[in-house]
Amino acid sequence: MDDGGINTVLCSVYNSAKLDHYWNHVREIPDKGLLVSLHHSLEKSAEFEIYDVSSKDIKRVYSSDQYQGGCFFLHGLVEFNFLAGCVLVVGLGAITYSARRNIMAVIPLCKSVGYHLFEFGKDKNFQISLLRRAKWQSKHTGNDPAS
């Protein structure tokens, strides 16, 4: 079985143990009349959509790619001889935005990407572009020390 297959099985077992978590985050970008809706499935993927809420006719103006990746070692379950392995993890998610620089950071990939940094265009017409993927800081283990 290749690594992808192993990860699939591990994810399946992990999910069947009812340990999966889903989080939604919503953040207004007030100076642009936009709303960012971010969906994180902890051990699967993350994606976000952006809505133009500047008028009564709310419309979706952007749908991101689906981001998958990261590696989370299930050492907490090893103690119970239940499972040991690595699953894809995108974290619980957060949105942060700087109005001065028109940049937004979202979606870390555990042990891989610290966050994805997007830039909004300064024109009235909606524009967004991925500036770069920040480096994962090695001091962030991503793991829960209590497990």
Partner: protein
């Protein structure tokens, strides 16, 4: 994670309670602070005694009092 208003500094907190301050431009690590309280929204822990604290939202925030253009984080307070 959170950006400072200028968009030059990223503050990130992981489940292990490690709070990192990094430069947005080049990801350079400026300062790390071990808070001892995890930043995960689901649960947290204190120290190494494996005591679980069910925290939906950790009642801890990190404020950067000031951030010089020299990239020195020189004062941090916890609330």
């Amino acid at each position: 994670m959170d950006l400072n208003p200028e968009g030059s500094l990223m503050v990130s907190l992981d489940w292990a309670g490690m709070c990192l301050f990094s430069n947005v431009e080049d990801d350079r690590l400026l300062k790390d602070v071990a808070l001892g309280v995890g930043g995960g929204n689901y649960h947290s822990s204190i120290g190494k005694d494996k005591t679980f604290l069910p925290l939906k939202r950790p009642n801890i925030t990190v404020q950067v009092e000031s951030y010089r253009r020299t990239n020195n984080v020189h004062q941090i307070s916890l609330e």
